[in-house]
Point group: C2
């Protein structure tokens, strides 16, 4: 096991009818900016629940944060924060709204030239404006971690940020919100959480037995509940397991003491930036090719995953590892998630070279758990994913 530090101070408030408890978490003298996305919260009743719970609090609203939270939109929100002397942020939404809120939490207290520097220079935020979240779409784990990914259309970039000051003070997780999520987004959420676990697990054996088993536990649970959640998003037991699995998939716990890969995300982000493909779907496109390309380096963990998660008992290590990749592809297909770039765009030619060139320009010369995936290798992986 590698040495590690772990601290996660976010308070989770989980369960049926828990949105009302928000009133115990936000100080009554706070001036709150309520941030949300396209407005679905006004149709499914979540907006009303939040407003009722916070009837004694001074609230300003900012809606319209898009999927892949856009820098220019967030800069408009930042102006509201300054103009209105906001003291507390409340994200009501999925990973995009929460990630956007994290950027605002950092930017509100940032005293440099332009908040873009936080992203461009990857500045770790030690203290941000306090914020809470009401999660409306389980997927990214952003409700219990301190990281965010922000998109800037102008430059077709998608960059990560974070820091110990960017944990939500609290997050409300009411599985009942899942009932109104469209199937497409449920499939995305399952795929996203599943791949988050793979990024922290599918590397090489390091002898961290408990972390491995926790990772496998999340994968097994997602596989178990995925068809139930898709079939009936009002199935409370299944949605509760799904929601908690998504949070645990990326709250830091399973990545402590083990190597991380994250090449699938780094490459996938480019596909979203270039083609606007849903984040989760880019992961399903890249992961299988990535694991096949790096088969020798990853086959021991692939085989362990095959044995413990997919109950593959027959064959050699290579056989089990290969079958495990196939099982993963089948799992994504079963959710209605395509796993080839050509399923999403006809204009895929040249994509591999373009991504490789971008990574070279950014100085990203070695991705993955061994920092060995050079831009030319990334190019091969993307071509395999066409």
């Amino acid at each position: 096991m590698n040495n590690f530090e772990f601290k996660n101070p976010t308070k989770i408030i989980f369960g049926k009818d828990s949105i009302d408890k928000i009133k115990n978490e936000i100080p009554e003298d706070a001036k709150v900016l309520l941030l949300y996305g396209g407005g679905s919260i006004k149709k499914n009743g979540i907006y009303d629940q939040v407003k009722t719970a916070l009837s004694k609090v001074n609230i300003v609203e900012f809606g319209g944060i898009p999927a892949n939270p856009e820098y220019s939109v967030l800069m408009d929100a930042l102006k509201v924060i300054k103009d209105e002397k906001i003291t507390y942020l409340l994200a009501v939404g999925g990973g995009s709204v929460i990630d956007g809120t994290k950027f605002l939490s950092a930017a509100a207290l940032y005293d440099g030239d332009t908040p873009w520097n936080i992203l461009k220079n990857n500045i770790a935020t030690k203290e941000g404006m306090p914020f809470g979240t009401v999660l409306t779409l389980p997927a990214t784990g952003s409700e219990m971690n301190s990281g965010a990914v922000i998109t800037r259309k102008e430059t077709q970039e998608k960059l990560a940020m974070g820091g110990p000051g960017l944990f939500p003070v609290f997050s409300i997780l009411d599985p009942q919100v899942i009932a109104s999520i469209p199937e497409r987004q449920l499939a995305n959420g399952i795929t996203d959480a599943f791949t988050h676990v793979l990024e922290q697990y599918m590397t090489y054996p390091i002898g961290a037995s408990l972390q491995d088993r926790f990772a496998e536990s999340i994968l097994q649970t997602l596989i178990e509940v995925a068809p139930k959640v898709i079939k009936d998003p009002t199935d409370y037991k299944a949605t509760a397991d799904f929601m908690w699995s998504c949070t645990m998939a990326l709250n830091g716990l399973i990545q402590k003491g083990v190597p991380g890969d994250w090449a699938v995300h780094a490459i996938g982000h480019e596909l979203t930036a270039l083609f606007g493909i849903d984040h989760a779907r880019t992961l399903a496109v890249i992961a299988p090719s990535h694991y096949k390309y790096n088969f020798e380096a990853k086959k021991e963990k692939l085989a362990q995953y095959g044995e413990r998660v997919w109950n593959i008992t027959e064959g050699s290590t290579d056989d089990k590892a290969y079958t495990a990749i196939e099982k993963t592809v089948d799992f994504f297909h079963g959710l209605g998630i395509d796993t080839k770039l050509s399923d999403y765009t006809k204009d895929y030619k040249g994509t591999a070279e373009k991504i490789s060139k971008r990574f070279t320009e950014r100085g990203w010369l070695g991705l993955g758990e061994h920092q060995s995936l050079s831009p030319d290798k990334v190019e091969e992986i993307v071509k395999m994913a066409y």
Copy 2:
């Protein structure tokens, strides 16, 4: 899944040579009371490592906190805290030293008549004096939770306390400390952590799939590493897995959203109070009888545990459940832990009645996950454990 709230702000610093990092965690202007037990830290080098790391900090020492931290000894330490105007506590030890430090953290800021009230009236501490820990004996999980158990010889009592203000600010977990732990205490630690998981798992199915799998993951890992740790406590991989498993067994995570039992602990505490039997060994005495006595209520989870943790594939639910209890007893025996009260004392007669009477007097009329274990049932369980 039941509704739950979860917040655990303790910073874990885990790994080889991590004791030195303590210097980054305690403010240099703090006046620290360094608390420890019988003095083994002066023989195994941990004391020197701590003193070297904190060479710039003003430290007062208080040693001699016994196993089952004793109220009267802690009251002496409290006097030192007041006299010396201590501002920060540092526990260097196992669960007993850490639990004692938690009591002192609460008592130092308590403004009631006598600190005994904190225990007698089970007062939840919202704010305590800040404290950190250097864990020297993995077992209780106290390094990452907010609970403590304190003993008072004068009245032969052992009572629990806690509260959100009693999480350690930080805890240092260096698996290398395990090399100098005597085999007896290693066996106790494994048994203690194992039973902590059972108390939060061996109840009835509530449909919390992820929590179940996390609990099973800890049990599987403890079973895997126990013989290695006992055989060679310098085996870093095994001791690291063991140490992290003990912490995860009782840091709150696996108990969220599920029913808890804790009858084994409640009864076991009495055996320690009456006979001075090691805490972990009292759990190994009570657990098997408890599970046999409450077989019908627990057999579904017992069978699941048998299947997933002990790989029992044959037989009915009853068969699997029964075999799982036997496997558990064998596991304890394999560690050199006896599982009958008569193995520890010749004076066991009348113990069941005595414990039953105490529970009645305290108003503990219904233990266990259904609050249905009345004192007369407790009496039966203890008799079965003779």
